[in-house]
Every structure is written in C-alpha cells, then in structure tokens.
Symmetry: C2
Subunit: 528 residues, 2 copies
C-alpha cells in the first residue's frame, strides 16, 4: 500500500487537464429522465444516492474510478478496519466502524479483543437503560427518571444531539420515547443555567461525557450540575453517570452511579456510535432502537467495501466532492435536509467534515499544495428556500449541494391544502429545487434579474422514512465519505491539532501569567 500526495498521482494530472481543457457539463441537455434512472446507487437503510444533477460525465467518472484505484481507497479502508496504524504522527488505531460490527479479523490491543470490549460496553449500557426504564434504577429520592441530560461538547454533543432530534418525533409517534433528553455543552454559564431551570431535577439522570476526563467546558458544567443537585438536597452520586476512557480521572470513580467506557481509538466526532451517543440514545429511546441504528450504520460500512465507485455511494460521493473541490474549485458545500428532524444534522456534519479534513499538511506533516476539506454548512428545507437559497441560485459563486429527503413524515399527521398534503408539498419543493438549480432559466430582454444561470450541481439522498436504521446508514455514509476523501488527499482525518493552540492560549489567559498573553486578553476586552 502506497501513501501518495494527491498531486503526485497520475490521475491528478489527467483530471486537471480534463477540467482545464474546455470540459463542460450541459445540465440542460444532459439532465433527463434516463440520466436520473442511470445515475443512482443503492445505500444502506433503504436509502438511495442520486447524482444525476452532478457535473459528472463518463470521462470524469472513468478518471474517478482510476483515482479510487490509484489511491487504493478500499485497501486503506480495510487496513483501518484491521486496526493498522495509518497515521505517522500518532500511533492510534481508528475503530469507530468496529462499534457497529466486525468487518475484519479480531482487532487486538494490549491482549484485549477490542470488538468484544465495545460489544460488552454496548450490552452494559443497554442493560443499564433497561434497568432505568424498568424502575430498578431510580433517582436519589426514589423517583423514576423521566429525563436525561447529556453534558459534553464537540463530538460529545453535536452528534448525539443531532441524532436525538432526528429520532425524537419518530419515537413519540411510535409511543416509544422512554425519556426526554436535553443537552448542556457551552461554557457560557447561561447554557447550563437555562437547561437546569427547565427540567425536573429530581427525575433527571445526567450523562457526563469526556473521553479524557479533562475537557474544561464539560468539567465546569459538571460542577454546575453537582452544585444544583446538592442545593436541592439530592445526592449527585445517584444521578450522574460517566462516559469516558478507562484511563481518565472519571473512570472507576465512586462519584458516579455507573461509568461506561470508550477508548482512544474512537475519535470524538466519530463517537456517536459508541457509549458517547449510545447511553443517551438508549435511555431516550430504548436499547433496541440504538441497536437498530448501529445495524443501519454497519450495513453502510459493509457496502462501503465495494471497490466499484458506481456501487459504493460513500466512495462515489467522496470522489465527486474531490472533483468539485480540486478541479471545479468550489470552496464550500451545502447539506440541505428536507426534514425538520434533521435540523441539527448539518451542524454535526460540519464538525465531522471540517474537523476531519480541514488540514493543510499530509499524513507525514508536510504541507500540501492542493485544496482539502471544504466549508460545510446547511439548514433544513423548505426554510432555507426563503433564506440563503437566493445566493445559491443567483450569487457570484457556485456552491455544490446535497439534498436529503424522505417519502414519509415521522409523525404521520398532515393537512391537505390546495389539493396536496404538506408532506407532498415538501417533496415537490425538493424536486423543483434540484431542477431549478441544475437547469436555471433564461429570460428575454435586457433586465436579467429574473435569469437563473443554472449549472449548480446537487445530489440527493432519499429514503422512505427517517428511522433508526436509515439514520444510522446516513451517518455512516458521511463518516465513510469523509474517510475516503482523507485517503485521496493523503491527510490524517482523525486528529485535530488545530484546536490545540487556542486551548494553550486560553490556559495562559486564565492563569493570569504576565506578558502579552493572548494580547492581554485582547487588551482587557476593550475596556468594557
């Protein structure tokens, strides 16, 4: 297996030559029903990936196939599954796939089978959730727990929060939401204060999540919670559980009702499938729902082993993204879910993508001279249509889009107006936007304000309903897409050195050391 900078591959030059050599994609002529039928790839969880409205023709596709081969994307994915160390800067396995199922031989570390370890923790926190739901575990005063509050930040917050919101209405409609969940993340004290003011403290189980056990924001918020519990005469040891690594100060600590473990091989932004997401989601929805979610993700991980990009949606999505980023030179990409339940999913994907691939050195630590991870952002449709879509349609820059949509709503409650129900309107808007972005509109006359240039590429991920399994498939799709892009760019998608400097400077400011620390806290915050 070779690790090669992207611009040192043979196919890099070919792709560049194609893009520069008068290559063009005639959306208006090319995008027809036949292309829509041809350009789609099945995904896990009953989803489909449709790329008919992407600026990709057979020549591009052939080169993207070459790229997948030359950068050995599947071999690298397999090596990662096998627990090989892919990164030179740190000796860390990358094992979030193993949380969802075994796709390799047993991965051993320090004499331990890590797959078995993850399964045992899954069993443990599933049983814990069952005991809470069954009433065997109760609060400090003997009241049943009705509410769970996760305390965490970054990967310990965005993913679990987005997934909870994605399934909350599905579970309510099924009558299977076991507990309401809330989240405290920001070190802004108003965050914890407001959340704590809105919950029944006596019936609330807190899940403290920090892999290292040293995350400043999370420890401050834990203190907030403990102070509140004590002030209410409640014993924090009866109402807090910890999710952490076995080497952290939170592990095996009598200050917690129970503790569940991950290890250093589960990156924060990839930890939603571990106890980091699993404890809160199992408590909220039941252990079975979380297992269904993992099964959807595992199915996606399995499909991602297919070496043919045309049959591997995560790989194809990754390769098309590389074409757009490095050769069509688009600096950003938008995630547009036509599903209110996915309202915070773009924020999680923003973290997943930008924290993984927002890098400027290769895996050896040498700066690269090509573009890497794009800016990722998004809001749900149809809301966005009344907002930033103006710029997407008629702005100066082209921003590639990815739509996500479903045939059915989650709550199955609807009204008919003007001959259609709202869910039908939602889907009609989605289809209309894809075509409007692709084909645009010309106008007669001198005033071209009503002209839409078109040529704005989009893809679509579509399924029957947002459910635990399809949500798992969706999450794993993006994780695998980001992984494949990291392999193409020859970067380490699994570290985050870019967050360190701010931490160091913050500590200096707080320690009130002398000198111009963070420029004397930005000159005493301007004297206010």
């Amino acid at each position: 297996m070779q690790y090669t900078d992207f611009d040192k591959t043979l196919v890099y030059g070919k792709l560049g030559a194609l893009a520069r050599g008068g290559w063009d994609f005639a959306f208006t002529r090319e995008l027809d029903a036949g292309r829509v039928t041809r350009c789609q790839t099945p995904m896990a969880g009953g989803l489909r990936y449709s790329w008919a409205a992407k600026a990709v023709d057979d020549r591009v596709l052939a080169l993207l196939n070459e790229l997948a081969d030359e950068q050995e994307l599947i071999a690298k994915y397999r090596a990662l599954l096998d627990g090989e160390i892919l990164n030179t800067g740190e000796s860390r396995k990358v094992l979030h796939h193993l949380l969802r199922g075994q796709l390799s031989k047993a991965v051993m570390h320090g004499g331990r089978d890590l797959g078995a370890f993850y399964r045992a923790e899954l069993d443990r926190f599933g049983a814990f959730a069952d005991a809470v739901h069954g009433g065997a575990i109760k609060g400090a005063t003997g009241r049943a727990f009705s509410t769970v509050v996760q305390i965490g930040i970054g990967g310990s917050d965005l993913g679990p929060r987005a997934l909870y919101l994605a399934l909350e209405n599905w579970a309510l409609a099924q009558g299977t939401r076991k507990m309401r969940a809330a989240f405290i993340s920001n070190v802004d004290p108003d965050d914890a204060s407001a959340v704590l003011a809105g919950i029944p403290l006596e019936e609330t189980l807190f899940v403290l999540v920090s892999k290292s056990g040293t995350t400043q924001e999370t420890l401050a918020n834990e203190l907030f919670v403990r102070a509140k519990l004590k002030a209410a005469g409640l014993d924090p040891r009866k109402q807090l559980v910890a999710v952490t690594s076995e080497t952290s100060p939170l592990a095996h600590n009598p200050g917690y009702l129970d503790s569940f473990y991950i290890d250093d091989f589960i990156g924060g932004r990839y930890s939603a499938s571990s106890a980091v997401g699993g404890v809160v989601l199992s408590l909220a929805f039941g252990a079975g729902v979380f297992r269904d979610f993992l099964a959807g993700a595992h199915e996606a991980d399995t499909l991602a082993l297919n070496p043919k990009p045309g049959e591997n949606a995560a790989m194809l999505d990754a390769l098309i993204g590389v074409w757009e980023r490095n050769f069509l030179k688009y600096p950003a990409t938008a995630i547009l879910p036509y599903s209110q339940a996915l309202c915070r999913f773009p924020a999680h994907l923003q973290q997943l993508d930008m924290e993984s691939n927002g890098k400027r050195v290769n895996r050896e630590g040498t700066p690269v001279s090509y573009a890497t991870g794009p800016l990722v952002f998004g809001e749900p449709g149809t809301n966005g249509q009344h907002s930033f879509y103006q710029m997407l349609h008629q702005g100066a820059d082209i921003i590639p889009l990815q739509f996500v949509g479903f045939l059915e709503s989650q709550r199955a409650e609807d009204v008919e107006l003007d001959g259609s129900v709202s869910q039908t309107k939602l889907r009609a808007n989605l289809a209309a936007q894809i075509v409007a972005f692709a084909k645009g509109q010309t106008v007669a006359g001198a005033n071209r304000n009503k002209e839409f240039p078109g040529g704005r590429p989009s893809s679509l991920i579509y399924g029957r309903q947002l459910s635990p399994a399809s949500l798992g498939a969706l999450l794993a799709h993006y994780e695998n897409k980001v992984m494949f892009q990291g392999f193409v760019w020859n970067i380490n998608s699994f570290d985050q050195e870019g967050v360190q400097l701010g931490k160091v400077l913050t500590k200096k400011v707080l320690s009130k050391a002398t000198g111009d620390d963070a420029l004397d806290a930005y000159s005493g915050m301007l004297g206010i």
Copy 2:
C-alpha cells in the same frame, strides 16, 4: 448621485493594484496593544467594533475611505431614508429604518405619512400585548394566554426566532418573561405537529405572519393549527392574530382576533423591527422591551449616517468585508457569537446577508463581473472550537471571522472551577482565539502538523451584556453593513428574484401538469 458598477470606479483599480502589488499584512508584528486601542469604533447600545485583527493597514484604510466617498454611501443611505426609489426593477421604497425612528423628513405614500403609520401599528400591538398580559384578552374558553406561537417562514421566522432566543434568558432572569414563545415554519408536517403537541392549546395565542397572505408553507401550517383548535373544540377566531399587509387576503378578515399591518416597503428579512417581530416579542417580553430594542436599533441607524468610516462601524465593517471579498478573494465569512443566547443569530444573518447580496446582476439588471455577497455561516463559541474551528485554523482556505461577545452573562448564575468562573472562561477563550487565528504558531522540526499559519483575520463586536438595546444595535449594525455593501456592489439588496423559479416549478409539480415538470418530480423520487 451616481450609480456605478464597482469595477467602473476609480478606487476599484487602486485597491486591486494594492492587493496584487505585493501587499501583505504582518499580523505577528502589527497586532499589538497599541493597535487594539487604535482600531476600534464605538457602536450603539454600548457595543464596540474592534478591527485590530483585520488585514487592514493605513493604505487600505485610505482607499476604503475613497471608496465610501466615490460610491456615495451616505448619500444613498440618506436617499433610502427619504423614501426615494433606489431600485430600477421595481418601484419600492425601503423603509425598515423608519420602523425604529425618523431620520428624514416625513415619508409619504398615497397621501399617508408612513412613519406615523408604523408608529400607530407599534402602539396598537403594544396595547394588544398589554391587554393580553392584563387579562383583558383571553382564549376561547376564557383562560389567560401563557404561550405565543408564531407561524411564518424565512423573514417571518428566522429573525423573530433568533431575537426571542437572544432575550429569553435575559427576561427570565429579570422575571419579565410574560409568555413562552414557540415557532412553526417548515412545510414539513412534523414541524407543526411536534410544536402543537408540546403546548397548552387552550392557552396559546397564534400569530400568523405573511406579508402577501399567500405563502404556501405558512397557509398550510395555519390550516394545521386551525384543525387542531377545532378538534379541541376551540374557536380559532379567538386565538389567531394576523400580521400582514393591508392588501392581503388576511387583512380585515373576521377569521382573526386582530390584525397588525406592515407594507410592501418592509422586506421580509428586514421585518424584525416591524409587527413581524414586534407582535411576538411584545407578547413574550412586554411592549417596553420591544421599544428598548427599537431604540438600540435607531441609535445604530443614526450612527450609520456618519460619513467617516472610522467612526461608522457598520460602514467600516462593510468596507473591510468588500476588501476581503473582492481583493483578498475570501469567499465566505463566519459569525461566531460567544453567547449561547445568540445560537440562532448566525442563521438570521445568513439569510440577511445571502438573500440581500447573493446577486449577480446590478440594479439595472446587467450582470456584473465581480464577486458580491459571500457565504455566511456560524455557530456559537466555545462549541465551534470543538468542531469546525480545526478547518478555520489549519484548513486550505482563509475564512474571515467576526466574533461577538459580552462581559456579563444574562442569567448571572455561575460556578468557579480552577480559579475562574465559566463566564471568565468564555471570555478567555474568545480572546485566545482572536490571537491564535491572527498570529498562529511556528514549530521546529519536519512535522508541521502542529503549525498554525496564522494570518486569519477577525473582528470583534463586544459589549457589557446582551440586552434589548444592545441586541437592537447588533441587528441594525448588520442590516446597515449589508446595505452599504450593496451600494458598493451597485446591486439591489432588497429584492429576492432567486427564490421565484423554485416556487414556479413547485406549483407545476403540485398541479400534476403533464410534461417533464421538475423532471417528473425528479423521476418519481427514484421509485421509493
């Protein structure tokens, strides 16, 4: 007054020559305490605009001053205040400033003094809110209203929602939150269904907001609400008020308890200061709080008349943004509030900016060949530090940043850990990030993974506390910034033709017309 495309101005060539001619800004050397003291501008509401960490030196500043003069930014702002028609495509005044106070002679239309009209509506909905709070207006069954739910989308949702969240904890801490507010926006039926399941229907007053009275999503959601009320045996006419224009089908309609009016001169994304934001905010917090908010905005509008960019924060922010967009070629900008209360403020600014200036033709309808409005996105800090900041620090592209922060929290509840309270940690992080982005960090040795290139520009808006007045000042700052940028680019910042094509295609899909309408609804959504 002249309207000139930006690239036809004299200063455009000078700025381009400066940027191309080896211009550079040495952040590490330049950014010192003296520069922080010098490079700040007072704003309304007790806020300060600090631009010390922007890549702007005296030469750039001199040319930005020339630009303000050559494009006659103040004269155009004054013309807009006077009610002159600035736009050629449509004969529409732009009067959102007038909602906050009179900065010009009386603006007349059809024999009516529009300032007086806006003030009268402000008085009317203020009195209505007082009557609801006092119990003179009650629900269909005689119960007092405890909850207000706004039904609207785009400008009728994002601004009012962001402002409500910004002041909710401030009001709770003061003990002056009069009613809880919720919002229904998406045509996804799960949105309305879930919100309605979580409120006390009998005690809920609904505010239906649609200027035209024809917004598809909003009418569908109104129907949802009316059906729910009827099913509960409640009379919708006693629990719904309308905010609309006087010419809409919702106006003077006995189907509503009361109606409050705006007119065609208040654009959706600029309507938070009108009844669109005012009714829900007055109900939630009291009419006095909304007036304080307007006073902060009016103070900002007044300061924005200052012709010297160095003393006019909105204009300077706009001009620096133009320098970054057109000459340093940065395609995006991030809004990073270190305040959980501003969690949805970036989504509102995304709409405000991208819908206003995401244009490719000038005010005459002729395509322009320079970049216009950038991509705008953001999430609160410190959360973002554990997420997408990786890419901001070490990614391939430079993304200019704007931080927002406050000395004090809103709820004044805090805990001390490691010698500092959380609010102090929040501020320390903010200061540390500004310096880290600007100055970066070099490392010894071959592995440059821990290197931060620096040179990533940021500005800061900082104040004592997020309050009604400072929030009004903040909102108006951004509105005026966007306006000034539109003047520089010679575009119409007050239309949104880019949303029309999608609407037309959606209607075709829903009418089931024959032919390839929206490509047969994107080929029957792929057969699922």
